[in-house]
Symmetry: C2
Subunit: 652 residues, 2 copies
Amino acid sequence: MLRRALVGKPIHNERAAGTVLSKGAALPVFASDALSSVAYAPDEIVLTLALAGSAAILLSPWVGLAVLAVLAVIITAYRQNVRAYPSGGADFEIASKNLGRPAGAAVGAALMVDYTLVVAVSMAAAAQYLAAAVPWLVGHQTVVAVTGIALVGLLNLRGLKFMGRASSVPTYAFVGVVLILVLVGFVQNVTGTLQRAPSADYDVVPAAGMDGGLMGLAGAMLVLRAFSSGAVALTGVETITHSVPFFRKPKALNAARTLAVLGALSAVLLLGVLYLTRRTGAVVVMDPARQLLIDGRAPEPDFYQVPILGQIAQAVAGADSVWFVILVLVTVGVLFMAANTAYSGFPVLASRLASAALLPRQLQSRGDRFAFTNGIILLSVVAAVFTIVFGANVNGLIQLYVVGAFFAFTLTQAGMVRHWARVRRTSTSQSPHRQIAGRWAVAVIALIACAAVFVVVLVTKFAQGAWLTIVAIALITVLMRAIGHHYRSVDTELEVHQNSGVRALPSRVHSIIVVTSVRKPVVHALTYARASRPSSLEAVVVDTDRARTEQIVKQWEALEIPVPVTVLASPYRDTVGPVVAHIRGIRRKSPRDLVIVYLPEYVVGRGWERFLHNQAIRPLRMRLHYERGVMIASVPWHLESVRELRLTENNE
Amino acid sequence: MLRRALVGKPIHNERAAGTVLSKGAALPVFASDALSSVAYAPDEIVLTLALAGSAAILLSPWVGLAVLAVLAVIITAYRQNVRAYPSGGADFEIASKNLGRPAGAAVGAALMVDYTLVVAVSMAAAAQYLAAAVPWLVGHQTVVAVTGIALVGLLNLRGLKFMGRASSVPTYAFVGVVLILVLVGFVQNVTGTLQRAPSADYDVVPAAGMDGGLMGLAGAMLVLRAFSSGAVALTGVETITHSVPFFRKPKALNAARTLAVLGALSAVLLLGVLYLTRRTGAVVVMDPARQLLIDGRAPEPDFYQVPILGQIAQAVAGADSVWFVILVLVTVGVLFMAANTAYSGFPVLASRLASAALLPRQLQSRGDRFAFTNGIILLSVVAAVFTIVFGANVNGLIQLYVVGAFFAFTLTQAGMVRHWARVRRTSTSQSPHRQIAGRWAVAVIALIACAAVFVVVLVTKFAQGAWLTIVAIALITVLMRAIGHHYRSVDTELEVHQNSGVRALPSRVHSIIVVTSVRKPVVHALTYARASRPSSLEAVVVDTDRARTEQIVKQWEALEIPVPVTVLASPYRDTVGPVVAHIRGIRRKSPRDLVIVYLPEYVVGRGWERFLHNQAIRPLRMRLHYERGVMIASVPWHLESVRELRLTENNE
């Protein structure tokens, strides 16, 4: 009941084909991840540069330009990738096919970790924006973020279609509002009416050893670190490549076009915001209590740092203007959609990995509402754990992020370089040959760019938290390899050969019924055992308590049932061992026969009653599973409470 | 393997009779609970009185005398009780038989709670003594106490006999050491060489509103509260009455004699310690930081309060003498044995309650080493939770204690009053009549004493924590009544009547084998299904994925198995519903027939592999248990890893 209320009615197979999206609808769903990074990427660039003092912040637009250069390369490469591998397996498939299963597993692991972090980072950022607008939420960001994760998880359990329609609004609204802000800000700047941001007058105290600004090696490292943090704007591209099956036909082409639009929008938004950051003098720092001086003093304990985008809105439209509130609302909306993006990509990936026998098979199956129930639950739980551990601190979570994405990008592009090289070798005609050479060149350039960014990110963020991501990726890869190995060996082991087709039947069937009390369930089980007409049938009593055993035997004889009773001695009061020994005795005498053990089981209607029954049977049943040539027949007996349950159900 | 190493080899039934103890061996085991309270009861009296300042502490020997007066009454009454009800069910049995099942359940619940608190209080006190001797344990008392609980729990899983022998040493050693201390202290006092305790010079700051000492109503209440706390010395008596079956014959008489010795020893030890407390001026307070002034100043942050018994040892033998260390060692030993006492009483009680259908049946059965495994585990876990919640604070735990014991004592004595009244009514001869009247009178006096103490304890401790105990007792009582009701209604429901003896057999057997893949386990299950020669046999495929279904059908046909395949449509990709609907269809056509569902199950050798298999089968099996006229036949298939497991086992 609860489940139906939460996840909605199941969707019929016939309607499944309808769960695809037009470009206009797909952009907001799948691009929200990449676009929403405008809400926190500028902050990360600024607060990293701020470690070297106010002057260093002036460099932020240039860092943004570097990020956009890489973005252009990646998007160009991925537009090719999507069309070469349009199945939605994308990165994982490219790495597996071109570099082998281990590389595929590693890419899969990296993408799983990154999807989880998208959810955690997006919800933490959303909580940050909400707290900027609603002061009494300050200090409760973790609760807000985890509530958001729970909400987006539940909505996804209800199915993609619903989300698809609803999701266009916040993403388009966000893009629209930020574009207006940037335009108005530009005009104000040109006309000289642009206000300074509230934080423009704060003094920024450089971190220890950074008094010299961006000079020297430490300064260069800091710029690279700012670039690494800004690189969050680059992730999210892979989400579209994983979502190709959700696009309308021609799927690959539409996905590639969506990628191009995404790239252009990202560039405009990010550059615009960074430019206005510089013009308004907006500042954010990692640790306001130590790094900021307001009128020469440390900030008050209740000082709350408004994110860059919020500060720009305050500067352009006024600190208490309705535009600030609107900006917060649309930003929270787009961040919510970004988390949602991970929810549509992650289960597709998990299902893909499960199909390749790298994850448990149950992740492969789709729940009854076209959502991959198990994947959604797993993603929510892990993202919530990350959020709680980091106290919904965006900057802390960002340190783990990006490295996984660039690890995956790098391996994928290495795979693509091989792919195009192979295509070039096997292609024969002249004209496409040149075209393929071009694609190969793009892939090589992208590989170099991705590898460079990966190294930069790894070096500058390793100690800050990226090591945790690397460890997680390594562990998941090892686990997936173990699962894959297990499934493969089982497949070989269980393959049915033509000649093993119809086996010789066991010549005789020995049935045993385990009796713990002479009550209706036992009599019922006995009826079923006799209906199967076994070659032999005996009742077995394990003698753990002399008086009880005698009583059972007496009652049994009084019933005049034509089934012999065997009393098994159990000097150590063990209920399992003697039954197993007895069965082994039968099997020794006639190894080709089948032994069926009938276990009467109580079925109860109320959960707590379960603890009151079957306690003696359960370990026996577990143990019998490990015996050879034994079949376990459970004969359920329904107590009154179950019948009541059934009546209630039928009345619905 | 691990289990064997921890709990030891099973004990043969024949040797079971040997698990009884002589009086000399039983005293240390079962009396350690009552005797060990000398380690904390004086502290509780002193620190309660200290709330009214130093002068009030002088009253402590008189409070001790009041406690002993009640002890004398209780022991006299319980010596009668043990002989009237020698089965070991004691209090529970007395209340049930004379006051009805609800009263019995309440007594049982109260004793269960109190046993748990014996373990928690004893181990917390032991941790306190250890920290007094080993300074670097200060602040880690919770860890020490929980470790102690784990240790005593494991030792009990290894069986009582071992504990019986080992346990005489610490209890006798404790009694001996304390007796020597008291005697030497007396002699020193007479000769005027008794030193003052280290704490004798501290100033005690009276609590707010207690500046007037023990005058007025507040003072009277404080004295009663001190008495309530001292009443911990009275608990532990019930442990002997629950342990009658472990005594040598004549069991009841030996138990009664042990009770008398226990009473005498308790009196001597408690009075001796309280007398020396007064003579040495030893002081302990609830909150040293607020209540003590040392040389006019609050104590240092690392100040640690040595318990009364330790302070007396320091005064009598010198602060750094070896006697102090010896005293700590024997005290920790006897407290360990006291916790152990609860472990021997609690499972007997739980088993008794389970026999009376007030607790789940599995608590009734004894593990394979004459220890009631489930009861031991339950007791350890709950005691550990209490200890952790209260941070191993003895004073905090004591507030919950005692109230349960006196609730049980009071109900028990009410039952005994009824018992003797009934015996008097039904008895005929003259001479025993007078004797019985005397016993009745003792029971009445004990009832009045117990009821009075119960009221005092309840009133003075309710707000301090006793309310929690009352709530726990009420909840457990309600739970046990629900369990009892359930078992009784099931008993009636399941009773086999003579005419229901041999039922009509189902006329035909329809067998269904659920196929999810054409692999060896399915072929194996099919062989077994065919061996049982059912009236009809069909393979069933749930069509959740068109391509997969087609593949299965094709493979099936290729194997040329003479069993028809039915494909069940599942437009909502549900694997369970279509099978259930199919079975219901068969049952509708012929309601008297039996349907057997064969489920091939994978059995794996390594735990983690379990997550990789049977995921689709499990919900189906669960659901089928709720269907009428259905039997579930599990056909285990052993993967290679199980065979490896079996080889390892056989080689041992």
